[in-house]
Structures are given as structure tokens and as C-alpha cells.
Symmetry: C2
Subunit: 318 residues, 2 copies
């Protein structure tokens, strides 16, 4: 944990009451620095009582995925070892990329309460108001770029599995990487990468989940949120922790050469197999039956002309 704010919060969580001097001594900073960060926590919504002669007492916490919150009980090998939370960012992927230029550990997670210019695939805008979970994971996989899709697949599996196991919601993956509940989109994944031909330099896996945020009314028929599906608010802190755990598991598997297991798991989460669909690609509109998905993420479609391999496109179930 790097940020003083997170260290203070973790200390207050593990003690009934702590004076400013005690916190200052424990964390090796001045009392003024403590006082400033206690106020910063209050402005985020933490209720912190200050009693003369006793000190600070944490009364209640909002659902904010600060590092001190998410890290509790998060035993991962790579992912989430460091986490940076911001009330607002232009885009967590863009910020993560800027961190990489400066040098940052693998597994670092960037979370924002609001993205002012959130992006989806192909530069489409992604609405990211307060209450959703918008985050990016920084990875340096020792793999060629042709294996990158397996990391993205691992991410959507981690999300779908968390929805099912933590919330009891049946989730499905729609090619390439949306997660749907009851046929409506609740999560999108935008992976960006930088590579040379036979080696990835970095990957930024951006995951956006409609949690407790209000949806745009115009998207009502195609999108949903976890709050809508559960009919109650969902903890973003717990949700993020659970997703990071599972992503860490699958990422570790992938690095051990178990990519085929990830592809097979991904296939078990898709409802597309044997379905008749139409795909709009850059060049054409194709109809056919889904046969499988390759480990480079391409869709294998049986059409009138035989098996076609679709590398990129938008699909509609017929």
C-alpha cells in the first residue's frame, strides 16, 4: 500500500480508536499530514469521529474501492498487488497506459468512480457515471501478441464467474467479450496492447460493469445493471476483490501454458455455440451457425460457403 490515505484507513479499520499522534508515529509522517488525509477520507464519504483526548474512530464506510478496502483478504500472486483509486478520470485505460510509460508494477489496478470519456471497443463511447465499477489492470505477459486474446477471455470469464458465484446471477459471454445477464449487457471489456511481433510489451485490460449506476433510459432494452438484476445495491469493493482473485487464478493458469483450459471455460460461458447468427464485419454481412471460437478469439462460422473465420465484427442472434 503506497498512499497515506489507504494506510490511515487500514489502521482505523484495525483499531477501535487511534490518536493523530499514534497514527503519525505508526506511519512515520507528521500530524498535519494525518489530519489532511483524514479530511480527504471524510470528503469521500467516510464517517470519522474525532474525540478530544482519544482520537479518530471510523464510524462508517461508503462503498468506495480504495486499495485499503479491496486489499483486505485479497491473496493474489500478481493482480491487485497495487491499486490506485480516483474519484474521476478521463478513462482508466488511458491513465493506466500513462502509468506504464512512467514504469509501474505488473498487476497494478486503476479504478475510477467516474470516467469522463470512457471508451468501448472501436472508440465507441462508454457511459461511466458514478456507482459503476470502471477499472483497468496492467499486465506484462511474457507471451506473443497472438496469445493476447486468451487474457481478454480470462477477464470475461472472471467477471461472469463472479456474477454467478457471488451474486447467483446467470451470466453469459457474448462474442467477442461482453458479459450479459438475461440477454442484456452488464459488462464490457476493452483490452489494449502494445507489442513487437513475438512479444507483448504490455496489456491494459479495461473492465466496465454497470453496478449501482443509473443506466441511460435509451439503453434500457439492451443494457442492465447488477442493482437492477438483484433489486438491491451490490458492493463494488467485494465485486472488484472477487474479480481480481479469479483473474489472478486464470492469468496464472495461462502463464503455465493452460490456454486451452481458458478457451474451454470461455466456451462454456457462451450461448452462441450452434446458434444461427449474423455478423457485420468491415467488409461484409455474413450469416451462419457458430461452430467454435479459436484461441486467437476468432469466431468459426459455418456458412453456405463453408467454414468462415471471423476475426472481428458485431453479431446479432437470429
Amino acid at each position: 500500500m503506497n498512499a497515506l490515505k489507504d494506510k490511515i484507513l487500514a489502521s482505523l479499520q484495525s483499531h477501535d480508536v487511534l490518536s493523530g499522534q499514534q497514527l503519525a508515529d505508526m506511519l512515520g509522517v507528521s500530524r498535519t499530514a494525518i489530519w489532511k488525509q483524514v479530511n480527504a477520507l471524510r470528503s469521500l464519504g467516510y464517517e470519522i469521529q474525532a474525540t478530544r483526548n482519544k482520537g479518530y474512530r471510523l464510524l462508517s464506510s461508503p462503498d468506495i474501492p480504495l486499495e485499503a478496502e479491496v486489499a483486505k483478504g485479497l491473496q493474489t500472486t500478481v493482480i491487485g498487488r497495487s491499486l490506485q483509486y480516483f474519484p474521476s478520470l478521463s478513462s482508466t485505460n488511458s491513465y493506466a497506459t500513462s502509468l506504464i510509460q512512467k514504469g509501474v508494477d505488473e498487476g497494478t489496478v486503476v479504478v475510477a468512480d467516474i470516467q469522463t470519456t470512457g471508451r468501448g471497443r472501436k472508440q465507441r463511447p462508454w457511459s461511466s457515471p458514478s456507482g459503476g465499477l470502471w477499472f483497468s489492470v496492467i499486465l506484462y505477459p511474457p507471451l506473443p501478441p497472438t496469445k493476447a486474446m486468451l487474457v481478454t477471455m480470462a477477464s470475461s470469464i472472471a467477471v461472469a464467474e463472479t456474477f454467478q458465484q457471488m451474486l447467483g446471477l446467470y451470466a453469459f459471454i457474448k462474442w467477442p467479450n461482453d458479459v450479459l445477464i438475461n440477454g442484456k449487457k452488464v459488462c464490457g471489456v476493452l483490452t489494449e496492447l502494445d507489442a513487437e511481433m513475438d512479444q507483448l510489451h504490455y496489456m491494459v485490460v479495461g473492465i466496465g460493469i454497470n453496478v449501482n449506476n443509473d443506466l441511460e433510459p435509451s439503453l434500457d432494452h439492451i443494457a442492465t445493471s447488477l442493482q437492477q438484476e438483484m433489486e438491491s445495491k451490490v458492493s463494488r469493493i467485494q465485486l472488484l476483490r472477487e474479480i481480481l482473485k479469479r483473474l489472478d487464478d486464470y492469468y496464472t493458469l495461462l502463464l503455465r501454458g493452460k490456454g486451452e483450459h481458458i478457451r474451454a471455460t470461455w466456451l462454456s460461458y457462451t450461448t452462441l455455440l450452434d446458434k444461427t447468427i449474423s455478423v457485420t464485419t468491415v467488409n461484409a454481412e455474413l450469416k451462419g451457425t457458430v461452430v467454435s471460437v479459436d484461441d486467437d478469439g476468432s469466431l468459426l462460422l459455418r456458412t453456405e460457403r463453408g467454414i468462415e473465420r471471423i476475426l472481428s465484427g458485431d453479431i446479432t442472434l437470429l
Copy 2:
């Protein structure tokens, strides 16, 4: 042509003599601006005579791949429409990437006489003294990243073909993308890319060729230069022009869906087929016979355990 230096050079090349005032009028700039750039050209090695009452006359030109030189007779659709030459850069790939961040046309070429920190594959240093041809091409292919290797293949084909057709040297491609003459490396290709899962954002194809530069004595048994092979200096200007032409042809083919033609051509330039080799990968050392190369660039090797697909590694002919 954007740079005033290139415009002045092109004007002097197409006129016997031009006064400072004539050049200033033609190019819409001040006589002082002309005077400065004429001196800049002189410092690059251009011999420009200034005669009172007559003006400037170009007496001789060094072999410097300025835009005005390379653009002569270069009829390409995308590649080389714009070219920036520098006496020295840290790395043409790095500079090209910085241009992309600012916004630059597809097909822009960056050339340097010297790279101070030239890079090869996997962050290996690449010696880039004066006299070699070190350049990068900026591309925005409307393709998924799984097709990127075909662009790199097109680049090594363009180089090998130029060596054969312009210089009569038999050139071969060594997997993944080195170009060899008489078994010694004369050219390396370092492609870097940025992408999301189903769409490339950009590619920077960096090509380094030992032309008239002195080689490090320690590399004598594995590297050669065009000058060594030809026993005379080779024009970098003509060489670059010829490579850009062929790369443009192959790139256009690729965008028309003729990737298979590129793979087949690449295969015709490799000496590896049916050869027994050993490959050092991150995880293992493998021996086997080369069967083919996939369109994602992976080597198909027949080993004792069956056909293995090698995504990345260094090979040695046995």
C-alpha cells in the same frame, strides 16, 4: 513535401540556377529563410554554388535520403507520401511512435543517418552508425492484430526482393524476419504495434540495413553489409525508394485480402523449409524439421513429439 529544405532542394534539382529571390517567391517565404536552408543543405554535404547576380546552383549531392531525393519517381499509394530525415535520432521507431501520438499521416517514413540507441527484437541493441539505412514506416492497417505478422513479412520480402532485383544479390529470409546474404545478416526488422483485441491502432515497421556502414569487427562472421557484398558503395536513396515501392505494393495487396500471396512469397524467400534446426524459446530448446510458417508468423516444426507450433524464438540451422 513539407520541409522547406526539401522544397529548395527539389527546386534546385529541377533548375540549372535559381536566385534567392526566385526561390523565395516560388516557395512563399523570405530570402533569409532560403539562405538559412541553403546553408543547412550545405552542412549535410550538398555542394551549392552561389554566384553573384545569378543565384544558387546545385553542383553535387551526397547520398542522403532526404524527402526530395527519395520522392523522385516514387509513385506509391500510401507508403512514403511523407518522409522525415534526421542526421541523428535515438531510434527511428521511438521517434515514429512519438509522431503518431501527435497525429501523422499513414505511410510517413522516418529516416536517420545515425541511431544513438537503435533497438532490435526483444530490446537487443542494434548498432546503427552513419552510412547504414535506418528507417521506420508508420501504418494504420484496418486489420486485427492477428494479421500484423503479414505486414512484417511484406517488409522483409520488399527488402529481399530489392536486394535481388536492384543489386543482383541473392537474399534469404531467416525466421522470423532477418534478411541474409551469403548466410550473414544484412537487415533486421523490428515491428512494434498498438492495438485493441480486434483492431490495430498503429504499426511501426522499423527496418535496419547495413549499407555502407562499417560493421563491428566482432560481428564479422555473422553480419555483412551491402557495400561488402557489392565491393562498392550502394545508394541509400535508391535503395530506400525501391524498398518503399515494393512495400507499398505488398501492403496494398494485403489490404485487398491477399494475405495468402504474401505468406507464399515469404516462404519462397526462406531457406528453412525441410531443414533441420534447433529453436531456443523462452521455455525450451527444440529440434526438428521446418514444415511451414503460419500467417500469424509461427513456425511449424516436425519434432519427435509431432508438429509443434513455435510462436517466438531464435533458431540455429543444424
